[in-house]
């Protein structure tokens, strides 16, 4: 998150994608949330040295991105941004784990390298799945889905409020930060002291805003109870989506499709 404006733009783009109207966008949000969870669980449940068996899972993001008409490059860039964090911890694996597990002709691959590769693939898959979920569902719909799935109402309301005021507050914060930068020459004046008082001012303004919002709610008869939005229907298509993908993930989890395919192609005996 280098620049605040960049972050807001990124945020808006993902939000805009959710406005699409493809067959995937129309699936009930609950089905998509559950499929995403099933996907992530299946992916992370593999052993640390497993690599090949993870590849079939790329089918899911590929298909959803295609059906949902998502910009591949955009999603890929967002994934790339976070991969270094996984790399940071994973890169110690080749150091600590040098047992050779695979010999590809002259090439000996240690467990460390194998598990590092596995970590990177896992990261790509899990991070991608989360981004895709937002891009084909939209944040408010995800919140309502979680609400219907039993998340405490207070938390739903909190997530919706947060999402609504993210844009307002990040822009306000961005303006304030810019004002500080414009008057800071070189790095002077960007220390924690000015940061502290900048945050304090921002906080007080935020607090006053919260009071005004509360006032606006009271003015429209708010009595402390949030009324649920019309509930969506969980149709056959949604069920098929959920059952189909979950079934496939289970299959991929139990049967190493890569291995199977490789064995067939190379003619090795199972």
């Amino acid at each position: 998150m280098a620049s605040i404006t960049g972050a807001i733009t990124e945020f808006r783009q993902l939000d805009l994608l959710a406005n699409g109207n493809t067959s995937v966008h129309r699936i009930d949000a609950r089905a998509k949330v559950l499929v995403t969870l099933a996907f992530i669980l299946a992916v992370v449940s593999f052993g640390k040295y497993e690599l090949a068996a993870l590849f079939p899972f790329f089918l899911y993001p590929a298909v959803i991105m295609a059906l949902g008409n998502l910009p591949v490059r955009h999603i890929a860039r967002k994934i790339l941004v976070v991969l270094p964090f996984a790399l940071m911890v994973g890169m110690f694996n080749p150091l600590f784990d040098q047992t050779v597990l695979i010999r590809l002709g002259p090439l000996a691959v240690s467990g460390g390298w194998l598990s590092l590769a596995s970590i990177m693939v896992r990261a790509t898959l899990t991070v991608g799945a989360a981004l895709i979920l937002v891009a084909v569902t939209g944040f408010p719909a995800i919140c309502h889905a979680l609400d219907q799935l039993g998340m405490p109402r207070i938390f739903t309301v909190q997530l919706l409020f947060l999402h609504r005021y993210l844009f307002v507050l990040t822009e306000e914060g961005g303006r304030t930060a810019r004002a500080r930068e414009l008057r800071a020459f070189g790095k002077k004046g960007l220390g924690w002291r000015s940061y502290g008082s900048l945050l304090s001012q921002l906080l007080l303004r935020t607090w006053l805003r919260a009071e005004r919002i509360h006032l606006a709610m009271l003015a429209r008869g708010f009595t402390g109870e949030f009324h649920p939005r019309r509930t969506t229907r969980f149709g056959t298509r949604d069920f098929l989506f959920l059952a189909g993908w979950s079934g496939l993930f289970l299959f991929f989890r139990l049967v190493n499709v890569s291995q199977l395919l490789g064995t067939i192609v190379t003619g090795g005996r199972g």
Partner: protein, 341 residues
């Protein structure tokens, strides 16, 4: 630091999810009792505030690098632990979904490390007693500093434990902790300074904000403590179990699946398939020279080692093929989609 999905085993991720979900449900219940309508928008906007605050950086003296606010402790001071916990959790959910910070499975860990620990441990047990009933700027500064440092040390150690217990990363506990704890000491000092500055400012500008939280908190103290004790106990227990589990069985779920379903049944479908496809293989094989010392009957045994040894070439070839097929099917669908549109 955010925990990432890729480093988590499902057992650890699931445990932490359960812990954090429990914390959120508990905090929601508690909030519902004390909720005066105004708290909902306040929590929402303060969450957005934390978000904005994290995007603004400041230079850390003498290092040249930059830092930003974490915010868990600050929110606890402003809102009380329950509301703070929920607010932080919501910020983490948004970060996981929109910025892929951490990931969805790691969300449980992150809510626990960055929300529950500072708001429900560092605030009530360190900050509050240190500040006492008559806050002054000095007291606020000292309390915020100590509480922030302890909170972050706990959080960092939790990350270490979760990572090591998951067993995906090969980092040994001592090495990882030796790396994480000092870094987070520095981060904790900075967090403490900023928190103290903001709290002191608010205390001078709007003293009623902080006083109201302090009074409100007196009511629900005992149950919170009890729950926390329970909570910690459960965490330690599962943590111990999981780490033992991880060391005995590097692949926990594998073992669990084998226990639940019986290993033979698991291997069954593959064998059946193999048998049927056996005739096929000779004719379509394009790398027939390779032979494998395949261990055979159990495609995935305890460590998944021998089998992957034996079948590595097939794995590589098949993996690449599968990957290509997965991506191609996406490409194909996209083309078709375009044509329809």
């Amino acid at each position: 630091m955010h925990m990432a999905d890729a480093l988590l085993s499902p057992a650890v991720g699931g445990t932490m999810w359960a812990a954090s979900a429990g914390a959120i449900i508990y905090c929601s219940r508690k909030l519902r009792q004390e909720m005066d309508g105004g708290k909902a928008p306040l929590m929402g906007v303060l969450g957005a505030f934390i978000f904005a605050a994290q995007m603004i950086n400041f230079t850390i003296p003498a290092t040249g690098s930059s830092g930003h606010l974490g915010g868990g402790l600050l929110l606890a001071v402003l809102l009380g632990p329950a509301a703070a916990c929920i607010t932080i959790a919501s910020v983490l959910v948004v970060q996981a979904l929109f910025f892929a910070d951490g990931g969805l499975l790691a969300l449980g860990c992150n809510i626990f490390n960055l929300g529950v620990l500072p708001a429900c441990i560092a605030y009530p047990f360190i900050y509050k007693p240190l500040v006492g009933s008559a806050p002054s700027t000095t007291r606020i500064t000292v309390a915020a500093m100590v509480a922030a440092i302890v909170g972050l040390q706990l959080g960092a150690f939790a990350v270490v434990l979760e990572t090591v217990a998951s067993g995906i990363s090969a980092l040994p506990l001592a090495a990882f902790a030796g790396l994480m704890q000092p870094i987070h000491l520095a981060i904790g000092v900075v967090e403490g300074l900023v928190t103290a500055a903001v709290v002191s400012f608010v205390y001078q500008a709007r003293p009623e904000i902080i006083e109201s939280v302090q009074q409100a908190r007196l009511l629900g103290q005992t149950p919170l403590r009890k729950v926390l004790a329970l909570f910690l106990g459960a965490a330690l227990l599962t943590g111990g179990f999981v780490s033992w589990f991880a060391s005995e069985n590097p692949d926990g779920l594998e073992w669990a699946i084998a226990k639940v379903t019986g290993a033979e049944e698991l291997a069954g479908p593959e064998q059946g398939l193999h048998a049927r496809l056996a005739g096929f293989q000779a004719s379509i094989a394009f790398l027939p020279d390779y032979t494998f010392k395949q261990s055979g009957q159990q495609p995935e045994n305890k460590a998944g080692q021998e089998s992957s040894l034996g079948s590595s070439v097939a794995g590589v070839v098949g993996g690449l093929l599968t990957l290509a097929m997965a991506l191609l099917s996406g490409l194909f669908l996209r083309r078709r989609q375009r044509r329809v549109a």
